[in-house]
């Protein structure tokens, strides 16, 4: 009787384990197959893509899409613009978040609480609700259709989150360090730059990479604030140039692949910091 029961238990455990892997594979197929499909389509000729029965692997490898993108020049301009804008925004965001995060972590004045509340409210705002007036304001400042205006606008969007993220990294550094430094007679700025800052480099990396990824993702700011085609960013260029009534899917998928690969590399390279940062930000609230 006892033996029978344990066999039964083992069977259910085995079935449970099997079901677990089955669900896992199913979810991962959903998450990863579209990425594979993008890559494979970029390597197929259009004639092969437009077959009624799709092929799982290209019968004839073709890099024509990539060649067209590189030789027509436009794509590289969008790419360069996007790298420029995102990198500038990431640097600006890091710079601002380090100072503000430090202030919020170390000082607890009444207005800091108010500021945090305002920040979390600001984070909720849909971009479009701001864009209409942002466009009018930037026009008055002569900043529409410039990368500077775009960088400032997209940086402001990320600041509320990155500041509180940075603050949570500073929270992890003992206050005694500053007290000791101030007893030794070092000034506030000296303490911040030479003693505290080196300790939050992982946090700074997390904020920087996160900002780069998030600003790379921007689409709305670019399409409303930027008009000149030679200033377009990647998302904007992809949508406005390549997606039309008759789409060249090999070209689009090649462009998508090129727009994705650097992000994947950046993420995997800085993964350790990113995951730490993301989870710290959310788990802390």
């Amino acid at each position: 009787m006892k033996r029978h029961k344990s066999v039964h238990k083992m069977a259910t455990r085995f079935a449970g384990g099997f079901a677990k892997y089955l669900v896992l594979i199913f979810i991962f197929a959903f998450l990863l197959f579209p990425v594979y499909w993008m890559l494979v389509t970029s390597l197929k000729t259009n004639v092969e893509s437009y077959r009624l029965v799709p092929t799982l692997w290209p019968e004839q490898l073709s890099v024509e899409g990539y060649q067209t993108l590189i030789s027509d020049g436009k794509f590289l301009v969008y790419y360069k613009n996007n790298i420029l804008v995102s990198a500038a925004a990431a640097v600006l965001i890091c710079f601002i978040s380090v100072f503000a995060g430090y202030a919020l972590s170390r000082f607890h004045f009444k207005w800091n609480v108010m500021l945090l509340a305002t920040f979390s409210f600001a984070q909720m705002m849909p971009v479009i609700s701001r864009l209409i007036s942002l466009y009018t304001i930037l026009r008055k400042l002569n900043l529409t259709d410039t990368h500077l205006g775009l960088v400032l606008a997209i940086s402001a969007t990320q600041i509320p989150f990155t500041v509180s993220l940075m603050a949570s990294f500073f929270d992890g550094i003992p206050r005694e360090l500053e007290e000791a430094a101030s007893i030794d007679g070092s000034g506030r700025f000296y303490t911040l730059f030479h003693i505290i800052m080196p300790l939050v480099v992982p946090g700074l990396l997390a904020v920087g990479v996160y900002s780069f990824l998030m600003t790379w993702d921007d689409y709305l700011h670019a399409i409303t604030l930027i008009r000149s085609t030679d200033l377009w960013t990647l998302s904007q260029g992809l949508k406005l140039t390549y997606l039309g009534e008759v789409s060249d899917w090999q070209l689009i998928n090649s462009a998508s692949t090129l727009g994705t690969i650097p992000m994947i590399f950046v993420f995997f390279f800085f993964q350790k910091y990113m995951i730490k940062g993301l989870t710290a930000g959310a788990v802390k609230g």
Partner: protein, 307 residues
């Protein structure tokens, strides 16, 4: 020297501390005020005025127009329809994202082979820019030649031969929901997983020794323990989906016949396609209020559950 010694003591908040703190915060405050706070206030004001392209180019301030923007939007039925579509989209997407992410997190948290590897690879859709995600799904949904159309025709035995998920009023929104799920599951699963990992192991062990089955453990120990993480991630997800625009822009642009016109699409079209900025601002104001109400209710319900 003794003054400096007290510099970082919380109990002696000197003028120096205040100035130092303010100085550090200043860049963030300036940027947020100019690019977020002022635009929001300005946009709410604009929604009560007649503000069109001429006002913008000639710098004429908008004129108060007695709620005409709101009345026109309401009478045309556009506002109500956008509200329902937005709420449906948010509710379904958030619910499904949560269920699938939770399942994924639970699986990754059990002793499976290569959990760390799966966790990293899982993040790929999150890293892909939203517009590219839209293009990627647009290709899968393409009619004709899309993968989905082929799969549907195979599984229906050739009965449904040209299925275009985005061309049909009833299915178009589902097409976007699938793309949104694909993009958002990774981050939520990652956050839920990290919340799960903070549950003490001995607690689950003790429950197992006491004979609790898996579902008991899940609902009595795991979920209650993760309450705050769930609250944060779900409200993040609600906000994220309320704001969703790029997927709509790349996949349907609000069509077919307005079936996927959410607040985001409607306000964008009013402001930047019809150049009626006042009307666009009216849509965003209603949108904003609705979002605040939803997030508020969500947090309330969650808090009440707590006690």
């Amino acid at each position: 020297m003794s003054g400096k010694k007290k510099g970082f003591n919380i109990h002696s908040r000197g003028v120096g501390d205040r100035l130092f703190c303010l100085l550090l915060l200043l860049p963030a405050i300036i940027l947020c005020i100019t690019f977020i706070i002022i635009p929001i206030i300005n946009s709410v004001w604009m929604s009560f005025t007649d503000y069109k392209i001429a006002n913008l180019t000639q710098g004429i301030p908008g004129k108060w127009n007695h709620f005409a923007n709101y009345i026109r939007l309401w009478d045309s039925g556009k506002l109500q329809s956008a509200a329902w579509i937005t709420i449906f989209f948010v509710a379904v997407t958030v619910l499904l994202t949560f269920i699938i992410s939770m399942t994924l997190a639970l699986i990754l948290n059990s002793n499976i082979v290569g959990a760390r590897f799966w966790r990293s690879v899982m993040m790929i859709p999150w890293v892909i820019p939203t517009v590219i995600a839209g293009l990627l799904w647009a290709w899968i949904y393409a009619n004709p030649y899309g993968l989905l159309q082929y799969l549907v025709s195979v599984f229906s035995g050739g009965e449904i031969a040209d299925f275009g998920i985005l061309n049909n009023q009833e299915t178009a929104l589902w097409g976007i929901i699938i793309a949104a799920l694909w993009k958002q599951i990774p981050l939520m699963a990652l956050l839920l997983l990290s919340g799960m990992q903070s549950i003490p192991d001995d607690m689950l062990e003790a429950a197992k020794i006491d004979g609790a089955n898996y579902l008991n453990c899940l609902f009595r120990i795991i979920i209650p323990h993760m309450k705050s993480v769930i609250a944060v991630t779900v409200s993040m997800c609600i906000i994220e989906n309320f704001k969703q625009y790029p997927l709509f822009a790349t996949l349907t642009n609000g069509g077919p016949s307005g079936a996927t016109t959410t607040f985001a699409v409607l306000s964008y079209d009013e402001a930047f396609v019809n150049y009626n900025y006042g009307s666009g601002a009216a849509v965003t104001t209603v949108w904003l209020l609705l979002m605040i109400v939803v997030v508020f209710i969500f947090n309330r319900v969650f808090k009440r559950d707590d006690s």
